[in-house]
Homo-oligomer: 359 residues x 2
DNA sequence: ATCCAAAACCCGGACCGTCCGAATTCATCC
DNA sequence: GGATGAATTCGGACGGTCCGGGTTTTGGAT
């Protein structure tokens, strides 16, 4: 006797194949008692659901027909100290999210908690009534708390390093890897005294991934002269100049392109004697202002989108048992504030360490 | 305009859906000239065959009920210096992979390059003839090269930090985050002189993520006395003892539980005066031998599996344009080699820095 | 030229499990 | 009693496959 099919089993039970299918997948459309009956009968008959077949069928059935498949929500907590940079970052993420969502047949709506009296509980009811189940949480200042939402209804991804309330899957740039790649590139160009300045609060949020990579590679790249990182809570000119004069780094890495003026004030000529790399291209004002690290936020957004949609298609809701972090390394973007890479032969001309002492 | 289907395309061409289906699969039942016409039209209309859907349909149609399962390949490069630890690691990954694959309707077959004359080109033909398209590459010593495979046929994930040939999505433990979490835990238990010993080659492979996190947190955790990390290419007792005596770390972190004996030889009592944490629980011989970091390899495996299957279902083949890294932090596992966490009040009893000087 | 069998080519039917909207049943409240 | 709405079940349509059966073409013998 061949293994039973949904239809044969349904006939035996006096139900329709649809009810069987729904029951076996635990759909709330079927009465609990019926579900139990179906499960018992299926077991007795040796019927086993094939999840792969199910997934394929589901995808097939769902994707065809009209374009419209669903709506995702991009949620953002807007506070008073929401900087223009954060806004730019989130807008950039959004463009990637929207594009990818559209390509996969989804629409995206953006919600801003804190604006127009929109609170989390209110958002919860809005999402519920609208039937929105896929969420992308945009980065928020500090350590945001989204526990007020009714999480068993949603599947979500946080578009930043780490979130604890609740613990969701995250998508973010790989700052450690980015710093490693940058230092290797600078090393290949002959720089031997890399210097880093960094806002403490910023790196703390990233668990010191910028500086961790900096410290480790300073130690292991050959021929490096170690320059201690400059830490600050607000960047002061005098402080920076003192650090710059004291250690004379041949390349300065940090978030604020404005320091290039200060470097020049100390007698540096860029890129002849000293160099600068901005650690976040969104902080630059012009494209060719300086070499920089491009976080590729649109790609991060699109990846976040894929994750959420993947979970939606697999009917996975709620807070994940094992949250994961998905990262993409930043892209090094060359610029006029750096020497070009030495051509062809690598070891012939050992790059000249800049000896420009000011004063 | 919705994506075309076999039927809509057939209508357009004045053929039947069956002919289209046969033609696209290269069946000899269809005239060569017709096949060419169909292929051209399909390309023009943007129709893409999903081989997985095809396989499911086929098995469904052919052997009614007989459970069909998709097949994934787990590929591993076995070299002479394949250590028992690497074997354990991969076996552990495999268990997670197999479980998750089964739950999603797939079977997994393991291939070992290097054994029984299995070369990459030969594997390529085997996979091709068997119609296997989803690959999970298990970690290999050094920097493996899989470019010999015909990549436009496959979709794959590498189960380690980073792969360059070709550049695939990766799934791996988050060593940086793991070290951060561990140091915070140790700090909370009152340890103030954490010491790290590390095989250079091992950390280099991870771009110094262990030591990067160690260096950064040494700097930023309050009240820490910095102990320089002990680097080695092969661990020597005399070297370790010299380091241990000189810096007297109150907790030692590293990969080899064997050093506990050496510590005792220097007069340390564990956990009364000194402590030890193994950075990889797979290196321990007994479960309760010592506190350790558990990489949760089965979970890593299951996540890798999900990624591959997701891409299969979405009909995505070839090398990804933007490879990403998915990480999961290791789980701290308490053990008898550590003091218990101070109960309730955090700051009342400042943890006593061990003063056990030997000799 | 004519015939006919065989080969080449193409098509319709039936099928799987799923999704969606509609139909049916059941409980509840004026 | 009738209307409203929720709970539950059902029917139709779907896409890609295999199989058996059509229809056209080929080619050799008369």
């Amino acid at each position: 006797m061949p293994t039973p099919t949904l239809r044969s089993l349904a006939l035996e039970l006096g139900l329709s194949r649809t009810t069987l299918s729904d029951a076996l997948r635990g759909s709330p459309r079927v009465k609990a008692e019926t579900v139990a009956r179906v499960l018992a009968a299926a077991k007795a008959a040796g019927y086993e659901r094939n999840p792969l077949t199910g997934a394929v069928m589901s995808q097939l059935r769902r994707s065809r027909g009209q374009q419209f498949r669903g709506v995702l929500a991009a949620v953002e907590i807007v506070t008073a100290d929401h900087t223009p940079l954060a806004a730019r970052y989130n807008d950039s993420l959004m463009s990637g999210i929207s594009d990818r969502a559209e390509a996969l047949g989804f629409k995206v709506e953006r919600f801003m908690i804190g604006k127009q009296d929109l609170t989390l509980p209110r958002l919860d009811t809005i999402l519920h009534t609208r039937g929105i189940q896929g969420l992308i949480l945009l980065p928020a200042v500090g350590f945001p708390d989204f526990t007020a939402l009714n999480w068993e209804r949603y599947t979500a991804v946080y578009a930043d390093y780490y979130i604890d309330h609740p613990r969701l899957h995250c998508v973010c740039s790989d700052h450690y890897q980015s710093m490693v790649a940058l230092l290797q590139e600078l090393h290949a160009r002959g720089y031997r005294r890399p210097g880093l300045f960094m806002e403490i609060a910023l790196d703390e949020r990233l668990q010191y991934r910028w500086e961790g990579a900096f410290l480790a590679l300073q130690k292991y790249l050959p021929g490096i002269t170690q320059v201690p990182a400059l830490q600050f809570s607000t960047l002061e000119r005098t402080e920076f100049e003192a650090w710059f004069r004291k250690y004379n780094p041949d390349v300065v890495m940090g978030h604020f392109p404005a320091v290039m003026e200060w470097m020049k004030g100390c007698g540096a000529r860029i890129p002849q004697t000293h160099a600068f790399v901005c650690l976040n291209s969104l902080r630059t004002t012009r494209v060719d202002e300086c070499a920089s690290m491009d976080f590729q936020t649109p790609i991060l957004g699109s990846r976040a989108c894929e994750l959420v949609i993947g979970q939606l298609l697999h009917n996975e809701f709620g807070v994940p048992t094992k949250p994961s972090l998905t990262t993409i390394p930043a892209l090094f973007t060359d610029g006029p504030t750096l020497r070009a890479r030495a051509p062809a032969e690598p070891r012939n001309k050992p790059a000249v360490t800049s000896g420009a002492k000011t004063r």
